[in-house]
Amino acid sequence: MNAELLYRSEERRNRRVLSGLFLLLLLLSALFLFAGRYPKGGFTFPRDLAENRMMQNIMLNIRLPRILLALIAGAILSAAGFTFQMLFANPLVEPGFLGVSQGSAFGAALVIVVGTNSSAMVQVSATFFGLLALGASYYLAKRFRFGGWLLRLVLSGIAVSAIFSSALGVIKLVAEPTKDLQDITFWMMGGLWNSNWKQILTVMPIVLFCLVVLYSYRWKMNLLSLQEKSAYSVGLNPKRDRTVLLVVATVGTTLTISLTGLIGWVGLIMPHLARKLFGSDSKAALPGSMVMGALFLLLCDTVGRTLLPTEIPIGLLTSFIGAIIFMVILSLKHQDGKA
């Protein structure tokens, strides 16, 4: 048996599947530009487009940025979840499990209530508190004197999340009910309805940069799932690499959810499915989960904005679908022993 051929044929298979998914993503993105509830629910035919100025405007300035946001948000949430799973050597974590989501939610709500309701401030505050929550979870897990590392991490994540969500509760209590409270509630449910070109052009370049950094680590990330001593012994600087990746993944996530609100489960489920499809080597599975995350969020958002006359918040959809997939995966897990 020729080892190189075997390895490369596996690689080629993965590349074919990835290209296929990417092509599907492009086709669906183009197709969904024509889907919506204007002028009536369903698809608009291109021949109706030529005479309809309003329709052109909606497609270019509302649907196109929204679809781009869905693609980038899906890719980064999924990639960040994947990164966290590798770094903590645990297929069951995502940034949300370590307090990042609740921290960002608190940060966003704080700015909304204080009244400096500029989107830049929401982004900065959500990112800051997301990172703070991550740091606090990590620090607490080091300090805990109970259980193994993973258990301590999950427990400290629960504790930090609880503190931020109770603080968030206080903010909601004092929030002005007709405006601020609504803003906060919608933010918590997640949605891409606020997307516009300005956001895409200001925030998304940073998120794209985060995606590129994570992507460049795609093979090395494997090594960071080993115990730290092993990673060190094969010539890595695991402390430095881990810090870089954690910060990049967290900044990407919090910047994204500062625009979209909380969108849960993407970062947990998509990496799982990607590993099923591409194998555990993160060289293939990381790009795989980026594309699958983008696909998943695009589908959820399109369903959310077209299915009913009122929009279904995307966070509700991803949680609902994600939780069902999660249950199915965990029930099947023992059959093939794959994580």
Binding site: M1, Y7, W219, L223, S233, S280, D281, K338
Partner: protein, 251 residues
Amino acid sequence: MTAIKIEDLSFTYPSGTQALANISLEVVESSTLALIGSNGAGKSTLMDLLFGWKPSSAITLFRKPLKEYGRKELGRHIALVPQSEHYNFSFTLLDYTLFGRAPYLAEMASPTDKDVRIAYEALEMVGLASFAQRSITSLSGGEGQLVLIARAIAQQSRVLLLDEPTSALDPANRRKVIEILSSLHEQGKTIIFTTHDAQFAYELATHVAMLKGGKLLAFGTKEEVVTSSLLTTLYETPMTVCAVGGKTLIY
């Protein structure tokens, strides 16, 4: 040529516990050194110091202070086989063995065909090549240990460190590990391993260092050092070394 030189090495943990005191020894290239001693004797600490995980200025590797090695450069000179590894993702054995090639790859690069070939040969050497595409999570404990050795072989370093390589193995796998390490020794590798098992140390090593309470009790060729009286002092329990039919038995 001296592979590793340790000069008056002491190590104290931040908590204040002194783990090692005034250790000096020289490991000749292509020799096999067993570090033996009871639990808490300082064997694991010494291993951690030897591959740079804990910093020390008392260690020289191939005449260059360990501290002066770059991260990847050190990875090309010294490989570690840890006592165990957590397998949370179902990498194939080939994927996993390829991790040993990391010190040879440029930053952010992926393995080349040459790396794949070397990793596959390492799997052949430990007898697991036919399982190259199998998931690492499906392996038994003994096979898991063999894959860890394969990863270190793929690293193609001149020095190999093994932390308790046989502590969790059944007799068949233990024999296999001895055979693999013996053939690596014949290829000229310098091997350093820790063990509780004096018999195993005697079978495999050319040299033995005895650690007791963080101090070097004795160091020399195994014939010089592995004696009933030194072993009895080392383990604080009566031990006997005797020759039976051309074989040395320790009990």
